[in-house]
Symmetry: D2
Subunit: 128 residues, 4 copies
């Protein structure tokens, strides 16, 4: 399990006075960074090899700009060429949102999915 | 059914050369505007009365900055105090993403859900 | 002069009930697209060759989510390896914001500025 | 002087492989929070009373997702109903961007500027 602190931004508070749900995927993605790095050690410098095919978000409590936010990230399931990440967002200790992200190991050149190699699968298994 | 044209922004293209999935919720929310207005005719001026409790996103094809994007929005299901919106994002005519959003009719003063009044329910039914 | 229609997003309305100034640079960048394309015809597919070194924004009137927004874009000044773009944002016909962006023709490989070639300079001159 | 740590988000890296300038205003605004709180102690709960009329940004070096970023914030000038904030963004210790923001003390009800009261002015002076 990875734990990532998130910094809610002032500009992320919307009309209703709270952080809107449209902001949360970027937070959950930020918390996914260490998973991404298993696949792409030099994130931002090398070619990308993951693609998100499904993202599910459950909002359990309002989040405000001054809440202390952390996200816990686990690998939930590993398939042949895909895997699912399960995440919980805690505000001030309490679960305020949950997300599930299904990612496919993707060859951007050939524009198709590829089998996750054994070594990478092993790295994922450690974070189940 | 409502159809909304979306303008992909140059700044929404990420490292991988396409529009990242974290951008899409804001697009789907934009397309929800006409649904929101059934509840809040003077959007932005009156108090907010809806809250998103669930958001599911399926990505079927890469979206690029210069794609022509439209979103089709339908009401899918109406509960007692909640309803579900179903949306399809078309790029150049083809479905590239789908979203489902469950919204609760919410009293921000009392911080609890409220029953959808009959008149509002009737307006929602017209968009099933 | 280029004129670009901008679609304010519901999610871009902030706590104060209007579109915050932090949103505007993405709008002005969107309107710069046709200038960018003079340098990079296949935007998003080829290497990037421009870098913003200065951005000045003046906010003259509040902008709301349901305003009709267009941005007028002109080249203002052309230097040796840089040029300045001047833009006016109109809401419902009236100027609500102005921006000035100084861009440098940049070699991302060598990480240094490069002289704007004569052919490109000629294209810029047409939009002064 | 206030110093604020900023967390660059994975989703803020653009096509060119760095953090685009359109992202920076939200970072500088985040660093302005403590200034805002002098005016609006319960940020997000009470009515807003500041408006940005000018924002100037200078980009001195590329910023990448994995840079350590801090922003130093000072009050630079105090006028009758406005004041100017000066900020420096450091990445890994080195100045990578500078911003200047002119804010007006604003009455959103009457839609006009108001004189900064003596007590508030005194608070600002402490951060020059």
């Amino acid at each position: 399990m990875f734990v990532e602190k998130i910094q809610p931004r002032l500009s992320e508070t919307n009309l209703a006075g709270h952080i809107g749900y449209v902001v949360l995927p970027a937070w959950f993605e930020q918390a996914n960074e260490k998973i991404y790095r298993l696949f792409i050690p030099e994130l931002g410098k090398k070619k990308w090899s993951l693609i998100v095919v499904k993202f599910e978000l459950e909002c359990l409590a309002e989040i405000f700009h001054d809440n202390k936010v952390t996200i816990e990230t686990r690998v939930q399931k590993i398939g042949n060429s895909s895997f699912t990440i399960s995440q919980a967002l805690r505000k001030d200790g309490k679960t305020a949102a949950r997300a599930r992200t299904k990612m496919v190991y993707f060859d951007y050149q050939k524009k198709k999915s590829q089998v996750i190699p054994k070594a990478l699968r092993q790295l994922l298994v450690e974070h189940i």
